[in-house]
Symmetry: none
Subunit: 184 residues, 2 copies
């Protein structure tokens, strides 16, 4: 992939328009940002996706640069919401992955994590968790607490948080900067 959210600097291609309409369409198809340089006499195009902007030529070079940098900036602050934060997932080898980061989970925590992940964003009962973690019978009461604690610490580096919902259960959520607060 050429453009990349991580790089922070997607390349913005300048496109003469309408002369290079073909180029524009190609870029759009690839999801790459572009700046249209509008022929002096052509009406402005209809709004397309948000990876596109345009400027009427002739234009002062400073203004063109400014507009490109605005577009780049918009992409930089827009992207994270749409694109970043790839969905967390568990593969069958006991690896919990988020994007290109991962942690290995031991058997019990692996089953707990799967149960939580299956219902990510919603509350999972302690009962349900216990059943998921120990299919043929749970050990003592506190075993679950301890394992949740350890799982919590293991997942923290991946920006995942296990919230406690007191007297109800646990809730897995991405602990992004603008996350909600729980009180229990």
């Amino acid at each position: 992939m050429v453009d990349d959210a991580r790089s922070g600097r997607p390349e913005i291609t300048l496109v003469r328009w309408p002369e290079q309409e073909a180029t524009r369409l190609a870029l759009r198809a690839e999801g790459r940002p572009r700046m249209l340089l509008l022929n002096p006499t052509t009406p402005a195009p209809e709004p397309g996706d948000d990876l596109e902007d345009w400027v009427r030529i002739p234009v002062a070079e400073a203004d063109l640069r400014a507009r490109v940098s605005w577009l780049a900036h918009r992409l930089a602050i827009d992207r994270p919401a749409h694109r970043a934060d790839p969905d967390p997932m568990i593969d069958d080898d006991g690896l919990f992955r988020v994007g290109d980061e991962w942690v290995a989970l031991p058997p019990v925590e692996h089953r707990l994590a799967r149960a939580l992940l299956d219902r990510i964003g919603t509350v999972v009962t302690r009962d349900a968790l216990a059943r998921a973690g120990w299919p043929q019978g749970a050990p003592g009461r506190n075993a679950l607490d301890v394992h949740v604690l350890r799982l919590r610490r293991r997942l923290a580096p991946l920006s995942l948080t296990i919230h406690t919902v007191r007297s109800r259960g646990y809730l897995l959520a991405v602990s992004g900067p603008a996350s909600a607060r729980a009180s229990g």
Copy 2:
């Protein structure tokens, strides 16, 4: 209300710049979109948030209209996730959700909140609330007041307000629009 998430068509304000910098800042603070009309000799401003665009004047009216419509279009396809202000709801796990934010409610407050939410926008009598909160008999008189107070504080971060209607009861409502902004 002037700007409105529900309408889907936020008003875009035209702002002369830099003359009306104060207006620009005010609009930004309120999270309202705006189009800067750049003084012919002023360098373009630094990129701000993505509710903003600019055009160098003098400009053909058609081009200005086009640019405004591009900005509007961008908001329409960008915003829905942020702006929608989805209706508050209570799920069965004791979570009170508004959009992607939530708080956990303890049992009593959960029942009170459900009673209030079921009649959101209308008055719920103290009697009805007491019955909802304590199905098999209410405790002391003050208990309800205290729990409403605590529920009030818990719901405030979600932009929800419990209004008192003296000698009648309580009323749940979404609080003013000028709140949730600014976090990004």
